[in-house]
């Protein structure tokens, strides 16, 4: 049992359409670095210089990591990590 990572719509291009991939237990930032190795380009979309970008949120089991231990939040087997970026579709204004 690994960490379950939910990939948001705008990033599924990098995972060949997969909306859920396995992640490695450890800190969130290590998990993202590992995802970047397997899905090149993922890292820079989510983070910049080791920090999560400000229009992207990471949730561990529905809790926002900004209010846990931020990038150093530890995830373990069985946890569910959601990457949720801002989206803006609706009407052209």
């Amino acid at each position: 049992m690994a960490v379950k990572v939910r990939i948001p719509t705008p990033l599924q291009r990098l995972t060949q359409g997969q909306e859920e991939v396995d992640g490695t237990p450890g800190t969130v930032i290590a998990l993202i670095n590992d995802l970047d190795k397997r899905f090149p380009g993922m890292g820079e979309r989510i983070s910049e210089a080791g920090k999560i970008r400000r229009f992207v949120n990471i949730y561990v089991n529905e809790e926002d990591i900004r209010f846990l231990n931020a990038e150093e939040t530890v995830v373990k087997d069985g946890d569910e990590v959601s990457i949720v970026p801002a989206i803006a579709g609706g009407a052209k204004q």
Binding site: E19, R54, F55, D64, A86, I87, A91, Q93
Partner: protein, 267 residues
């Protein structure tokens, strides 16, 4: 105000609900809702609010109806191709329900006009397709303490959240800053399954009616994420950010920001 016989019939399925009743229906009739965007989300939101009998509905959008809109923007039709979207929507909503006064604003919303445009309204709805507008509407709502029901869609995904200034999070507590241009695709680039605009728009309309009625729990402090391919709704908690640049006790943004110029320059 007293309801006419026709109105009692029209709203009978509302009035029979204990949570609405005649009193709630009158609240709906007196409510003033401002919808940003007359597109994928604005159409169903406006449609359901008009059907519900919301007394005044303002819609702002600068575009004309195009054929590629009709796959999802259900207030428009072949008859209104090429016409302003807000005029098209006004005709549709007022022919559905003559009780409703639709104010059609064919213009762009900007930091210079937004505060004046929205100041007399009770609830705001964001159905815009771009980040500059989304942050502008959020910031203006926080500054004027207006509740805001925000919805967004892309491909097969939808996001809905309700901002109640002073009580819960704001959009910047959720996402502090807009992404740089080009990093997040638009519907035009990435596509959208038309029917999901109906799902998200109906959720937004329901939130608006709950705010008007003061019933139930709105998506305050919560982001609802709809995945159409899996048919799942997920909720994540959105605490108020004590360091939020706009809604915290010591905000760093105290004037509206025009991200538009920056965006246009870089696109």
């Amino acid at each position: 105000m007293e309801f006419t016989e026709d109105q009692l019939q029209r709203y009978s399925r509302h009035i029979i609900l204990p949570e609405v009743g005649g009193k709630g229906q009158k609240k709906i009739a007196h409510a003033k809702v401002f919808i940003v965007g007359a597109g994928g989300l604005g159409c169903p939101v406006g449609y359901y609010l008009a059907a519900a009998g919301v007394g005044t509905i303002a819609m702002i959008d600068n575009d004309n109806v195009e054929l590629s809109n009709l796959q999802r923007q259900i207030a428009h039709s072949m008859k209104t191709l090429g016409k302003p979207k807000v005029e098209s929507a006004k005709n549709t909503f007022e022919s559905l329900n003559p009780d409703v006064n639709v104010i059609a604003l064919q213009q762009r919303i900007s930091k210079d006009n937004i505060l004046d445009l929205i100041k007399d309204y009770d609830v705001l709805v964001d159905g815009s397709d771009n980040f500059p507008t989304r942050y502008l509407v959020n910031d203006a709502c926080v500054m004027l303490k207006k509740p805001l029901v925000s919805g967004a869609i892309l491909r097969f995904e939808g996001q809905v959240t309700t901002v109640v200034p002073g009580e819960g999070h704001c959009y910047r507590c959720l996402f502090e800053e807009p992404p740089p241009p080009g990093l997040v695709p638009s519907c035009q680039e990435a596509g959208v399954l038309g029917a999901i605009t109906g799902v998200v728009g109906a959720l937004q309309a329901t939130e608006v009616l709950k705010l008007i009625l003061g019933k139930g729990d709105v998506l305050k402090g919560t982001l609802l994420i709809y995945d159409a391919l899996k048919t799942t709704f997920r909720r994540v908690r959105v605490p108020r950010n004590p360091n939020c640049p706009v809604c915290s006790d010591n905000p760093t943004i105290t004037e509206l920001v025009d991200y538009d110029a920056e965006y246009c320059a870089r696109q």
